[in-house]
Symmetry: C2
Subunit: 110 residues, 2 copies
Amino acid sequence: MSIAGDLIRGHTDAVILARLLRGDSYGYEINRVISTLSSGRFELKEATLYTAFKRLEEQGLITSYWGDSGAGARRRYYAITPAGVEACFRLRAEWKETKEIMDKLLEEET
Amino acid sequence: MSIAGDLIRGHTDAVILARLLRGDSYGYEINRVISTLSSGRFELKEATLYTAFKRLEEQGLITSYWGDSGAGARRRYYAITPAGVEACFRLRAEWKETKEIMDKLLEEET
DNA sequence: CATAGTACCTCGCCTGTCAAGGTATCTCTA
DNA sequence: TAGAGATACCTTGACAGGCGAGGTACTATG
């Protein structure tokens, strides 16, 4: 079973920011890591990913720079900004709350 | 703090079906119960709610009938169908999985 | 008679996801 | 040396769900 788009929606930014919290990275790699960590069940499509990067950069939550990789295609690296760190913590807290509420609304009893 | 639209997205159907699992009900009441259970933090807007009812009925997951309330405005009651019960269980399982994956992707370490 | 509460419904905008398509570079193999 | 496959990036347009705004209709209360 893999996670459908509408379940992903609203969590994409949080997941990307959480990744960048561990250090700069680039699109292709972020996608691979997310896919690996979730055993392939949470898969960001490329279009979604790059749309998200653009959005996050416009909001000042991340910045980007071209890395020179001696070999292979060029990479655009992303770094999280202080505002991004804050946003990440906020989104994490929101996620925690969403979880609690949803558990209550979906629970078997009541 | 209340739950933003994009976090709600994808969960609306599950929440409504979970409510109807406990017995027939009508829009206004379902909304109130959801709001109460979540302490006002998960709030379905009316437009969202009625759109969802329509969608769920078209998919055969719920049926509706006019209830005659002697007093006050007329109410349209909704009942969950066998297919709806199945869908509800499936969505509940999906939610459980989403939770696990998200926790992994957002966790502090790693 | 006006106001507030109950209860329903629709239209049109906005936003995020994604299928499809494209570009460029490097490595490996036939 | 040609071709395939992996790496790596990006854009466009369609689509779907949430929701603001607006509307209808009935009852109770002051």
